[in-house]
Symmetry: C2
Subunit: 388 residues, 2 copies
């Protein structure tokens, strides 16, 4: 039963109730078809009795919608589709563009390790154009803040330059997009050489590229490292795209990639008296549909791996070694030496950071803090929606 012909985006769309009212099909004039089930449509109705007009939250539960919901009628009303559901006799309208955008006919299995479209993986060639913002401009908000945050979303890291060389300034930076996640290390922590370090970060040792706190669950999803002094010899920072490294591993040895996604590693930290953190998660984490969502890599806090069966352990260790070699490849590294008043932010679920060892007469003093991605992405969405 064909019920409507609409013109949208310059094309013709045909809408048809199918499967005896269990679904409807929209098709464009170039032959693409998007189908929607009656129960999906009813659950996602946009009207004021289904969604609160004040805050957009759904007012009904799925249990309040009859299981045998069918499409009783459908009719075009301008650029909206009016749909009436039986047995409720509930009538509601969907913008055709909204429906088209939410089509799920294209949902299909993809190769393990795919990443979200807003992400762009990178290697050392990004050194030519390091993602960066200016403190004052980002502080002012608007387009400069939006663009800086969009770089963090796209590349998983960005520098911020021209800030004050003042203790605690990193908390102000976190406030540009969200909230500090306080932990046992404090609201923020001092990264400098100490006499009795509770963590190897608080020494002059070089640190292999790593993600922070994999022994924490949930891991902090963002980290800010803010420079106050950096006159010591050495102490350069570099970052590596863990998603790119994982994909390199997948492309050269899919079985090795599979081992690091399929088995959990363990991480542990008990470096100070009142703390014993532990977590059990894979080094490369995928959503169940194969989307790559997190990398955990940290030689300092890796605990004995006991969840890999004996017959796979040597292959697992070979995969772990190869992943580390890829991460240590200079062809993947973007390096910089922070100056006082400069900082960088990393997506700690994706981008590894490292430092070269430092020593000598000068001093190196950074402050670090954690924050979370949900707040950053929310702020970015709001800025983008305001601009569109």
């Amino acid at each position: 039963m064909a019920i409507a012909l609409a013109t949208e985006n310059g094309g013709t769309q045909r809408v048809e109730v199918i499967e005896g009212g269990r679904a409807l099909a929209m098709s464009s004039d170039d032959g693409e078809c998007r189908r929607f089930h009656a129960i999906w449509l009813r659950d996602n109705a946009l009207d004021d009795s289904t969604r609160s007009p004040q805050n957009g939250q759904r007012l009904v539960t799925l249990q309040q919608i009859p299981a045998d919901t069918r499409i009783a009628a459908a009719a075009l009303q301008g650029d909206e589709l009016q749909v009436t559901f039986a047995p409720e006799q509930h009538s509601t309208r969907f913008p055709l563009a909204w429906l088209w955008r939410h089509g799920y006919d294209g949902a299909a299995p993809r190769e393990a390790g795919w990443t979200a479209p807003e992400i762009e993986t990178w290697d050392a060639s990004l050194s030519a154009e390091v993602p960066e913002g200016r403190y004052d401009a980002v502080a002012a908000g608007g387009a400069a803040r939006r663009d800086w945050l969009a770089q963090v979303r796209r590349y998983g890291f960005a520098k911020l330059s021209g800030g004050p060389a003042e203790s605690g300034a990193l908390v102000t930076v976190a406030g540009f997009f969200g909230f500090v996640r306080e932990t046992n290390y404090g609201k923020w922590f001092e990264v400098r050489a100490e006499v009795n370090p509770t963590n190897l970060a608080y020494t002059g040792l070089g640190l292999q590229a790593h993600t922070d706190n994999p022994y924490r669950d949930p891991v902090p999803t963002l980290q800010i490292l803010y420079c106050l002094e950096n006159s010591a010899e050495g102490g350069d920072s570099f970052v590596v795209d863990g998603f790119h490294a994982a994909r390199c591993l997948r492309d050269e040895d899919p079985a090795a990639f599979g081992l690091l996604t399929r088995y959990c590693a363990r991480f542990d930290y008990a470096g100070s008296a009142e703390v014993h953190l532990a977590a059990r998660r894979p080094m490369i984490e995928l959503n169940p549909d194969g989307e790559m969502i997190a990398v955990r890599f940290n030689n300092r806090s890796a605990a004995p791996i006991t969840d890999v069966p004996y017959h796979e352990m040597e292959a697992y260790y070979a995969a772990y070694r190869r992943f580390g070699e890829i991460i240590e490849d200079e062809g993947l590294q973007v390096s910089f030496k922070l100056q006082p008043g400069e900082c960088f932010i990393v997506d700690n679920t994706r981008v590894l950071h490292a430092r070269h060892g430092f020593s000598g007469e000068g001093s190196r003093w950074l402050q670090g803090c954690y924050a979370d991605k949900d707040g950053l992405l929310s702020t970015l969405r709001v800025l983008e929606e305001a601009a569109s």
Copy 2:
């Protein structure tokens, strides 16, 4: 080459270098065998050149350990095993009990939906003995705090009674084990009926059992709800073990359980001006080895599901409906009405909470805040280790 016979825990253990030095095997007199690869042993060496004696962190990377590491020699020294690795000629000792405890021969696939041994799932019968602590005792620390936190780990929720009916007291409760996670809702938020609610929680409506903020990634892993006033009619709270509900679904319909684990749902919140949060995660989340690690269920913030292919969507919706029915089953609910000065804490990755609608002359005023499990479990481990 059998190299040692040891007595430990009353039993005899035989240690043998196998596979030409690529591994060693420990066997107990009842025939159980645990094997360890040379590379695993070397990486997990406990000596001061491998692990910092100050903070326990590993000082070497896997890349610094030769890939062809073999066991050159092994010898019993009391209740320790001395192992020498080639080609490094690195010699180190492992306590036999440590080795036995870290064996990975038993690592094997398990049925999807298994839970960690420290977790006990429950239903309404737990109402007879609701997990609870006394504010003053838990505040004092020691065994009372340990036992209260152990209940949270085991059951995913616990009440705390006898606290002050004072605004902000919930932050003190969070300090008993960790740190508040600040969000756009503030360090804490007021849960009471408002005129222009930015969230349906801030009305007198009943709320279906749900986990909080599934539109956030990472979700807050703990929530505290603290009662300041509760003289309104209704407004009782109840909790449901989401892991138990998910396992009920698995046991009656494994395919339905599989659908909710295999496909991502979507969640969205844009209820106030400066916020637009969104996440894409499964309703039932498993580690890659099948461990159940999180449940997300919230009708108010569920966004259109677009990651399930057309041919599976009706079955997915049927599974989602059935999961909701199980969650609404009174046989799974533990109910209570909070009194002023009482609060409860839930593991927000596992236990759903709900409230009945309220109205009438009296008032209902709760305060809520978020915190994270890693801090709670760390504090609990430290208290347990101090007691052992």
